[in-house]
């Protein structure tokens, strides 16, 4: 599958972070959409499917965890990465039940975005 066919949804309320991730992943050849909040993300998911979600945890409105659970209900094939500024966050039971693990967590600041691409490649294969 070519990278352009892989659809990534970036959700982050911080503009620069969202724009950076989007730009980097687009430069890597992925098709990327972005949302400022969980609600907006769910709206986008109603219109089309996404393969990968890069989710910030602290979001206005619903938080990243809830967003992942809801997104999983809508599109169960979708895989998720967590991009968080929290230092103490670990995967809660509800998320590990749908296949997430601590290796899916990227802590901010993510100095080398190549790491992100590495996991996306693994998940999308």
């Amino acid at each position: 599958m070519s990278r352009a066919n892989i659809r990534i949804l970036v959700v982050d309320d911080e503009d620069l972070v969202r724009v950076n991730l989007t730009a980097y992943l687009e430069d890597e050849g992925y098709t990327v959409a972005a949302a400022v909040s969980g609600e907006e993300a769910l709206e986008l998911m109603k219109e089309r499917t996404y393969d990968i979600g890069v989710i910030d945890l602290r979001l206005p409105g619903m938080d990243g965890n809830l967003l992942i659970l809801k997104a999983h209900e809508i599109q169960p094939q979708m895989k998720f990465l967590i991009h968080t500024g929290s230092t103490s966050y670990t995967i809660p039971k509800a998320l590990s039940d749908i296949g997430l693990s601590n290796s899916h967590i990227f802590r901010k600041p993510l100095v080398k975005m190549e790491q992100l691409v590495g996991l996306i490649r693994t998940l999308s294969e």
Partner: protein, 730 residues
């Protein structure tokens, strides 16, 4: 002087003096008695001799009268021969008498022949004083006269014809006072008789050894005189003549030799008795002295042994007298003393035990600072025994107390306890903190003070550590709060710079594409960027962002709990791996060649695995190894090859890791702050000042362990890490 000889002497003196007095009195009495006997004897002998002497006077008159009246005499007066014969044959008693008969013409008719040793003869008869020229036929007389050399008693009686009273003659009797006469007296009186007329020695009853008459020279009358080996007591009476003239003396001598000898025997016996009594007295004195002194001696010995502390003596004096009573009192006293002493020593032991059980060093001193009390802790701290310490000055034993002696004096003077906290003193090569308290001794007038020294090093270290932890926790809390807020913009900076650089690189096809769409050329843009060093600035932004991110990351570890990632780890293996890592560390290799450092390992082979986050512990160890290497190379000492000692051992419920270098060490102020975040001794930019604080946090917070540093400037530094073998609950 001891009591026994004293008593003996007293008794001896009393007995001796008494006996001596008694003996003297007895001797005096005996003397008197014998003198009396002698005096009585001489008196009676003299009296008897005197009476015999004068009896003879009368007797001679009676004899003369008797003879003149004899018929044969009257009838034969004309026939003197027959007359003489008749007288001689008939009158034996006249043997010692000289008989002279004279006729009326004064012619001696009988006794003129001198056949007897008479003094009187025809020539000297006229000298007789009572011899008158005319004889009275009735007159008779007698007297003592000295005629010529002799002395005699003379008596006369006229011879008268009884019918006619015709005077026919004169009868004259002469009794010479010679030795025959004295022998007669001696026979009656048993006393020796002497008749001396002045110098003329007339008669004597003394006979010398040859049977010759002996006439002793008389010295003082009435006294004793030695005559012919015998002692005589002499007395005398005078011989008076007719006209009462003293012609000489009759001496009466009583032999008192026997009396003297008897007296001497008596006195000798008395002296013997005296000596015997004295001897007996001495023996008795000794005996009594011993008898009295022996219990006293036993008592004294008992008391002596009591005074030496042997209270178990039973003073064995059986007597019921005062000494016996005293002995019993002493024995009782000893047993009560023993009880009290035991109680006292028990009390003292108890108190000593209390003092010794104190964890503090307790030193008693007098006002001059000499040691009077020394507890076990003091002994332990100095290695100086109690006996060695007594009397020494405190500062000689504890040199660091030199400065405290003023405090001691002040405590004594003001009677107020003084306290000096955290005095630093070297103990076994380490620097220790000591609290010194001085309490003045104010009771019972005993001047001095008690110095109490507590080693508060551990407490001080714990306090330091708590402060450290507190600091770190506050940093951790702050960091956790800040991290989230900083990380987002930091992420923006870093990722944006990454994107900018990517979008200026030739690697992305899209970059050239977009450049062309904009009517320019990517190469031109890059050239411009390079020329203006914009790419370098961008790289700088990125690098600085990354550095800031790593600082935040490190700070975040202060609040991070990593319990879930702990796994049992073999620390020996981990340590070896870390050493290898350090040796290959590029940064390290650049400046300090780790291979030049000698690594010594002292690993306990039976060490159990330790539950820990291996990566974190490795981070800690690497940090310490790097620090050690840097420290040793920063101050190279050529004479001292760099060396790191690694030790692993079990210590109770902990495993103890030690990393010791022989570098320059650090001073006290550095050591205190070494774990503080952002504290660094390295040049600005070389270290963040977080390495050791993060290590500290990893050990103490994440692993519930302990981390300490010990250092002696100039000798080296040792980091000690304790990790618990049991998983902590936190």
């Amino acid at each position: 002087m001891k009591i026994q000889p004293k008593l003996s002497l007293y008794f001896f003196l009393i007995a001796g003096l008494t006996t001596m007095a008694a003996t003297f009195f007895a001797i005096y009495s005996v003397n008197r008695r014998y003198e009396n006997i002698a005096e009585q004897e001489i008196a009676s002998s003299k009296k008897m001799a005197e009476s015999i002497f004068y009896e003879n006077l009368g007797d001679l008159t009676r004899k003369a009268t008797f003879l003149s009246e004899l018929k044969e005499v009257i009838e034969n007066i004309a026939n003197p021969d027959e007359l003489a014969m008749a007288l001689e044959s008939k009158f034996f008693f006249l043997s010692n008498l000289n008989i002279k008969i004279m006729d009326p013409a004064h012619r001696i008719v009988v006794g003129q022949d001198n056949s007897t040793p008479s003094n009187i003869n025809q020539a000297n008869i006229g000298q007789l004083p009572f011899f008158h020229p005319e004889w009275d036929p009735l007159l008779r007389d007698a007297g003592i006269f000295q005629v010529g050399q002799g002395i005699a008693i003379y008596s006369y009686s006229p011879i008268v014809e009884p019918e006619t009273f015709e005077l026919k003659g004169l009868m004259l009797l002469e009794l010479p006072l010679n030795s025959v006469f004295t022998d007669e007296i001696k026979e009656k009186t048993k006393a020796e008789i002497l008749i001396y007329l002045g110098d003329a020695k007339i008669a004597s009853t003394f006979m010398d050894v040859n049977g010759q008459r002996y006439f002793p020279e008389l010295t003082t009358l009435g006294t004793q005189q030695k005559i012919l080996q015998s002692t005589f007591l002499l007395d005398s009476f005078p011989i008076n003549d007719y006209s009462n003239r003293t012609l000489g003396r009759v001496f009466v001598g009583v032999n008192i030799q026997d009396i003297i000898e008897a007296k001497q025997v008596g006195i000798r016996s008395l002296i013997l008795v005296f000596l015997a009594v004295i001897a007996l007295g001495a023996v008795m004195g000794l005996f009594i002295g011993r008898r009295i002194s022996r219990p006293l001696l036993v008592l004294s010995k008992g008391a002596d042994s009591i005074s030496k502390g042997h209270f178990d003596v039973a003073i064995d004096v059986a007597s019921r007298d005062e000494v016996g009573q005293l002995a019993r009192v002493f024995t009782q006293m000893a047993s009560s003393l023993k009880e009290q002493t035991e109680e006292m020593s028990h009390m003292r032991l108890y108190l000593q035990n209390i003092i010794d059980s104190m964890p503090s060093v307790l030193i008693g001193v007098d006002t001059r600072g000499s040691i009077t009390q020394w507890n076990q802790q003091a002994q332990k701290a100095t290695g100086i025994s109690q006996d060695q310490a007594f009397g020494k000055r405190v500062q000689d034993v504890f040199p660091f107390l030199e400065k405290q002696m003023e405090t001691v004096q002040r405590a004594i003077a003001e009677r107020m306890p003084q306290k000096t906290e955290r005095v630093t003193a070297p103990v076994n090569g380490d620097s220790h903190y000591l609290d010194v308290m001085v309490y003045p001794l104010i009771s019972n007038g005993l001047e001095g003070a008690v110095i109490r020294v507590d080693d508060v090093t551990t407490r001080v270290r714990i306090e330091e550590m708590m402060i450290q932890t507190e600091k770190m926790m506050s940093v951790g809390g702050l960091a956790a709060g800040m991290a989230h807020e900083i990380n987002n913009p930091l992420g923006g900076i870093i990722q944006a710079s990454q994107n900018v650089l990517r979008r200026l690189s030739r690697d992305l096809e899209k970059n050239a594409e977009v450049a062309r769409e904009c009517g320019t050329d990517l190469d031109q843009i890059i050239r411009y960027m390079e020329k203006r060093e914009i790419l370098k600035f961008l790289g700088g932004i990125r690098e600085c962002g990354e550095r800031a991110a790593s600082i935040v990351e490190n700070m975040l570890s202060f609040s991070r709990r990593s319990e879930s990632r702990k796994s049992t780890t073999n620390l020996a293996v981990l340590l070896d791996k870390t050493v290898q890592l350090a040796a290959n560390d590029y940064d390290l290799k650049k400046k300090y060649d780790f291979r030049h450092i000698e690594i010594r390992r002292e690993f306990d082979p039976d060490l159990p695995d330790v539950p820990c986050v291996a990566t974190e512990i490795q981070q800690v160890l690497l940090n310490l190894l790097k620090n050690a290497a840097q420290a040793m190379f920063r101050n190279p000492d050529d004479r001292k090859p760099p060396r790191i000692n690694l030790r692993l051992r079990r210590d109770g419920g902990y495993v103890c890791m030690e990393i010791e270098d022989n570098g320059p060490g650090m001073d006290e102020s550095t050591r205190k702050r070494i774990f503080e975040p952002f504290f660094t001794t390295k040049d600005v930019g070389v270290g963040t000042g977080l390495g050791l604080s993060v290590s500290y946090f990893i050990v103490t917070n994440n692993h519930q362990g302990n981390m300490m540093v010990e250092s002696i400037p100039g000798q080296g530094t040792t980091f000690v890490i304790y990790l618990p073998l049991e998983r902590g609950s936190a």
